[in-house]
Symmetry: C2
Subunit: 123 residues, 2 copies
């Protein structure tokens, strides 16, 4: 099987990091399916996530490994990991220990773009 | 209001592109909330999306604007756009005209990582 075929159709997990060594991780709530946040993982963050069962990311601004909730306590317990066709994006289905957003919102996606203006998402 | 505060709490849409001029766009199905794909948008793709109501991305491999479905016909009609706290990620809630993945799957996330092995997602 050629590499592309194996990557798309195979059973082998072969995460594809970009030229900065990152892939995209979308966090959804395991019970509600709401999208909670988007982060980036390098190989270290991915390994830490798989090893511990708690979501870790690579902070692009701080340039280092970051366990989500390491300060706030609002960790994300990973219950399921989905992988996309070319293996450069993951969906982490998680049980959050508290609000996911640093603003205190349950999700980072608390606003909707409405005719060019941001409005609060209606519950 | 300082720029960070305005970005996080304000009504002004001020999309934050990374050093490659890209932000992350997560596509979800407007009716089922299933995550369909993850793509990247530059300012051109974002403008085309907002102007036409159909999802456009920037192809990182081809280095150019890409209207999703331009070849397959499987366009994504954007019904709602959510914006995250620091405005560097969007959720596009879409009605898909066909399977979203180029493999023919409804979603690009058709596999789950199970003990190190990729398995088909159970419906």
């Amino acid at each position: 099987m050629c590499e592309r075929k194996e990557r798309e159709a195979g059973k082998t997990f072969m995460p594809k990091f970009d030229d900065k060594g990152l892939l995209t991780a979308v966090v959804v709530h395991h019970e509600t399916s709401a999208i909670l946040m988007v982060g980036f993982m390098d190989a270290e963050a991915l390994a830490a996530t798989l090893e511990t069962g708690f979501a870790h990311f690579h902070s692009r601004s701080r340039g280092k490994l970051w366990k989500k909730g390491e300060t706030s306590g609002h960790v994300l317990e990973v219950r399921q990991t989905l992988v996309d066709c070319d293996q450069d994006a993951l969906v982490l289905s998680c049980l959050p220990a508290g609000p996911t957003c640093h603003t205190g919102a349950q999700s980072c996606f608390y606003r909707v773009l409405d005719d060019g203006i941001l409005q609060p998402v209606k519950a």
